[in-house]
């Protein structure tokens, strides 16, 4: 699976490069667009020194072949391997603005939750907030990032390949005979995910039925007895021992049959990263929901 993911883009590279070269003549700069903070921003020339403050943005830039333009990343960016050697400029709550400015970036890509755009803009740096949150936005933001770094063709190819890989999983899960009623715990408070959230969409594509209705919102705090009443056949995101220790949870079907599965660390990491590894996240989730389909 790893192999295939890396081989396909490689095979298409010459074609993509040709396409890229084709559009390069009509270079889209200066490029003016509205970012995720609702600001009108102009990118004057093709960015050559980029600082990314979101792990998903870092992954997307590398996946469209702009990895060598990165001069700095946030502390959580750890994929692909190449970015781990770049200077770290802090996280969402503790960004090191001076360090960012000292890297002399011509573009800083931020999330819409930090407060970086003010001070960085004042320091004369171009700042764009690009922040995919829903399933569909993963694709639209990938294309947008491709446009911003003049790798539009590669971005289109990437999206095409991601959709192909997703379809391969969906073909299996769509026709699954039974789709287990599932409870996902993203935090032991307990918080779960609604069907319209990024993870909720992946869950239904993985062939599970979410016990959380859309009316509860995207990240609802769940009343424990609601879970007991819904009686899911599968619970993800906690271990069996924890589930057993909760008052009344022994009567839940998933606890009785032992279908309570902690999400492995690696999978959890990509599930929280709306980026190019989305198909891998979906496949991992589908494996947990329908182990019988992936033998």
């Amino acid at each position: 699976m790893h192999k295939r993911l890396s081989l396909i883009p490689l095979a298409l590279l010459p074609l993509a490069l040709a396409l890229g070269a084709g559009t390069a003549g009509a270079a889209p700069y200066p490029l003016t667009l509205t970012d995720d903070l609702g600001r009108r921003v102009t990118v004057r020339a093709e960015p050559k020194r980029i600082v990314s403050l979101l792990p998903s943005t870092t992954e997307t830039l590398c996946a469209v072949g702009a990895c060598d333009r990165l001069v700095g990343v946030d502390t959580f960016s750890d994929f692909p391997q190449a970015v781990t050697r770049l200077p770290k400029v802090g996280g969402l709550y503790d960004p090191d603005i001076e360090k960012i400015v000292a890297l002399r970036p011509d573009l800083v890509l931020v999330s819409k939750y930090g407060k970086l755009e003010g001070p960085l803009t004042q320091a004369g740096v171009t700042v764009l907030a690009v922040n995919p949150e829903t399933y569909d936005e993963v694709f639209s933001k990938t294309l947008l990032l491709g446009r911003i770094v003049n790798r539009e063709a590669q971005a289109k190819t990437l999206v095409l390949n991601m959709k192909k890989d997703i379809a391969r999983v969906e073909i299996l899960t769509k026709n699954a005979v039974r789709k287990p009623l599932t409870y996902v715990e993203v935090d032991p408070a307990p918080y779960s995910v609604g069907p319209n959230s990024f993870m909720g969409v992946l869950l239904s594509k993985a062939g599970a039925r979410n016990i959380i209705p859309a009316s509860l919102g995207d990240f609802p705090k769940v009343d424990p007895e609601f879970v007991v009443k819904a009686n899911p056949a599968l619970m993800l995101g906690l271990d069996l021992k924890t589930a057993r220790s909760r008052p009344g949870w022994n009567s839940i079907q998933a606890v009785k049959t032992g279908r309570v599965l902690d999400i492995p660390r690696d999978l959890n990491l990509i599930l929280g990263r709306p980026g190019p590894r989305l198909p891998q996240a979906l496949r991992g989730l589908a494996r947990l929901v329908h182990p019988e389909l992936f033998r």
Partner: protein, 333 residues
């Protein structure tokens, strides 16, 4: 006492009404939730459990989830209200609440350390309890003047210890960003996973702590005349103060460790009781226990059936305006 009491019969009537309210709130709270049960069904389920019949269907929800949660609400609400009343009495300060000496920030820090370090969930209340008691010990050590614990020094030391510990908690939250939500849920108070075992752990501390405080009612009344007068009337003022602080901190620390930091109950309940029952501590403390229990169960009911979702949010959001209204009404009369 210097405090003229209302006619005894009126007190009895009001207290009986309060007991009835508490029982009604308990039945209501056990009946409402994700599954709705009529009061008759609740009583039926309670009866079936008591008679030792096998639990099935909704009986599981009643006995294993809602009842322990409701009982925990009664115990913690009562505890916070009694401790708040005793602190207001012993410090002769209407702003005192059970968290005055750093119990809450200590518990918050203990729980945060456990959560951020990824300790097993069962050990988190223990960490909170240990840290809460340690925080009070530090406050007492800082406030000590020879063998005396002057109230002003106690309050100041409590505020400083609280601020320092809260700052440290915030620092840890920022370090462990991905667990911030869990810490937040704890610091806003949550009765969500209270089971019988938790109730059984908190209950001894609560009974012991509140029992001692209620037993000290007469001495607290005398203390209202001032340290000097109380001393001349034979009240060992310093020992009384230390005893109240220890008893209240023990009970509060146990409660906070298991359900998180629930604000306002300990502050406003004694004031409400004072408005209707007078300031006699022998009446004030037990009645505060009844009202505190009923209010917290109601607040938790709102927390789990509305999007407010955290009991601490409900108590502060609704408790604050309600209390202001009560104060204004009292003034107009």
């Amino acid at each position: 006492m210097a405090l003229p009491a209302a006619p005894r019969s009126r007190h009895l009537g009001r207290t009986a009404a309060l007991v009835a309210l508490l029982l009604a709130v308990i039945v209501l709270a056990v009946g409402l939730g994700s599954v709705r049960l009529a009061p008759g069904e609740v009583l039926g389920a309670l009866w079936r459990g008591l008679s030792g019949a096998e639990l099935a269907g909704n009986d599981v929800i009643v006995w294993q989830i809602r009842l322990p949660r409701v009982v925990m609400g009664v115990v913690v609400g009562a505890c916070l209200a009694v401790c708040g009343g005793a602190f207001q009495g012993v410090f002769r300060n209407p702003l005192a609440d059970p968290y005055l000496l750093g119990v809450a920030s200590g518990a918050g820090l203990g729980a945060t350390v456990g959560i951020v370090a990824g300790w097993p969930r069962g050990s988190i209340p223990l960490a909170a309890l240990a840290a809460a008691l340690a925080a009070v010990t530090v406050t007492l050590a800082l406030a000590r003047e020879g063998r005396r614990f002057p109230p002003t020094r106690l309050i100041l030391a409590g505020v400083v210890v609280g601020s320092v510990l809260s700052a440290f908690t915030t620092f840890l939250i920022l370090r462990g960003e991905d667990r911030a939500r869990q810490v937040l849920a704890y610091t806003l108070g949550d009765l969500g996973f209270s089971g019988w075992r938790d109730v059984a752990t908190v209950l001894p501390y609560a009974v012991l702590g509140c029992g001692v405080l209620i037993g000290l009612g007469r001495a607290l009344d005398t203390l209202q005349l001032g340290d000097l007068t109380a001393r001349s009337l034979g009240v060992p003022v310093e020992r009384l103060r230390l005893l109240v602080v220890i008893a209240a901190s023990l009970a509060t620390a146990a409660a906070v460790a298991y359900v998180g930091i629930i604000g306002f109950v300990g502050l406003i309940v004694p004031h409400v009781v004072r408005l209707a029952w007078g300031a006699n501590h022998r009446v004030l403390l037990p009645v505060s226990a009844l009202l505190g229990g009923a209010l917290l169960v109601l607040a938790d009911l709102l927390a789990r059936t509305t999007p407010l979702s955290q009991v601490g949010v409900v108590t502060t959001l609704l408790g604050g305006p309600f209390f202001l209204w009560l104060l204004r009404r009292g003034r107009d009369e």
